[in-house]
Subunit: 343 residues, 2 copies
Amino acid sequence: MTKKVTITDVAKQANVSKSTVSQYLSGRFEYMGIETKTRIKNAISNLEYQPNIVARSLKKKKTSTIGVIVANILHSYSTQVLRSIENVCNKNGYSTIICNADDNSIKEKKYIETLLAKQVDGLIVLPTSGNMEIYEKLLMQNFPIVFLDRLVNGLNVDTVLLDNEKASKLAVEHLLDNEYKNIAMVTTSLIDNVTPRVERINGYVNSLEEHGIPINDEYIKGLDLNSLQGGLEELFSLEKPPSAVISGNDFTLMEILKYAFYHDIKIGEDIGLITIDEVSFGSIHSPTLTTIAQPTFEMGTEVAKILLDKINNKKTNSKPRVHRHEPSLIIRNSSKKVGVVNE
Amino acid sequence: MTKKVTITDVAKQANVSKSTVSQYLSGRFEYMGIETKTRIKNAISNLEYQPNIVARSLKKKKTSTIGVIVANILHSYSTQVLRSIENVCNKNGYSTIICNADDNSIKEKKYIETLLAKQVDGLIVLPTSGNMEIYEKLLMQNFPIVFLDRLVNGLNVDTVLLDNEKASKLAVEHLLDNEYKNIAMVTTSLIDNVTPRVERINGYVNSLEEHGIPINDEYIKGLDLNSLQGGLEELFSLEKPPSAVISGNDFTLMEILKYAFYHDIKIGEDIGLITIDEVSFGSIHSPTLTTIAQPTFEMGTEVAKILLDKINNKKTNSKPRVHRHEPSLIIRNSSKKVGVVNE
DNA sequence: CTGAAAGCGCTTACAG
DNA sequence: CTGAAAGCGCTTACAG
């Protein structure tokens, strides 16, 4: 690496002090002689000077960098949300450091600590819920932080998430409208109490009750992905197997499709299917898949905006709240008893 | 924000100098009295001291942060590669700033400049090829940089990519083995000369020639995604339409599946299909899809390792080179004339 | 074994 | 209108 050119070099070449160059850099031209200005301008372009942001950050106590901790960038929800977060951040001059905590609170803790040590200006986290003390400490210190996708019990923090109950409700009602009565719900394990899953089950239960349909506990499967094939086996071996299935998310969808594929169950004919989360192949699958989409880009955009507002101390007096986003129903063919192609 | 505790506070509380605390922090205990050591340790834990990495970075001229510029994090190739890059980086104490250049060289330029101003220790880029002067300057300065997925013509830089010719060759030969003779190749636009596309076409052409099969130019479609439906229309309206299609990547695959869906072309029966790039729904699609997978995680891991090696000045004398990775054929049913389910 | 001093590359009151 | 000085929070020779 060749030696980097610094503000001192520019000052020397332009024959002014570092202070003046610094004024120039920050656009404070009010009192600056036109002569001085052009000399600095020329020096900067001659030397191809690029300010060292690390030095600036140290002095200004602001890095213009935020940290984003997701469960796993490979999940399409995270990817989509990240993309919109990065868009908003970039537009506002912020960089984003991205971390995968893999739903592991130890990793999450380590990432939070590293990011803080790196002096990020704020944090967006899809929380594991396993680090209450840290979350609370950050909030106490008024450190800019926003949560995403999951509610942490008893924590008073801005959180952007889906109206999960509504998502299930849309699914249940759509299936009922299509003459399905025996509706099962399949989702990933409920043991770690992750909000979306719990709320989606609740929405399912509440919605059925609203329509006067009794709840059949055997129709509710909340299982680890790798126990799901067994769970589906149980479900379809019931004396009265379900006529339709709601998939709680895109992962469970894959398992359900796999199960149907291997057991030669014809989706849309033998069984109605609707899934929460839109999937890339929804419209080219046979049959096409009815889905409940999350407005992931909207959510990512909002979470980033809330964070940047906090960082810039706007809305400092607004109380933290839960920001719910509306799911939307995309009707395709997997949820229709009659195999009419209408999409 | 409450006031941050600094090394000075620790030094005061432990009754030593900042230098000694700093020694402690960097694990240089050789000459440190056991007494001193414990006093510092206690002070640090009392005060919950966390070193300010920005200050350290300024002094050490090393940020332990790298920048990664991809085309678009939404593309599954980028996502997968990013995940493995982040893994390697995290394991080695590096953070990753992620940027989406959207195949736009202006955006790419801005990102590179910002990342350099932020003093990243190195750069991984999936290049647009539109910023030769910058690439060259960085290489000249011996700045640690590694390219991914695409070759930049005339640039002597470490580049990790797929053996694209081999990928097409695998596809062609697999189709030939399955009795398909009239094989078309469909890929995204060739105008910007992006390596993988060009190489995949070449591989297709060469492989056919090797097997003594004449090239039919009408069977080669290199089009923008949004002109692809028209191109497919042309292809299938030919006097002698192809009996099999090679999809150049996962995007073209979606278009082909869409076309087949709307025109009621039965894949695996009416037409053989194989795609370069593995897709999430490959094994649950009807029929299941034969694919040529890239070892994305391996590639991400290698690109990160090469970069970290450069940063740490190992292998400093090794010449930049092209690191090709082997594609692998995943045989499913879309490429078999007989609809035998064997997967 | 430990500390004083200089310095990383900036910015920011403040003085003139 | 511009510059000298102090300081952001560290690290690193070097002295003792």
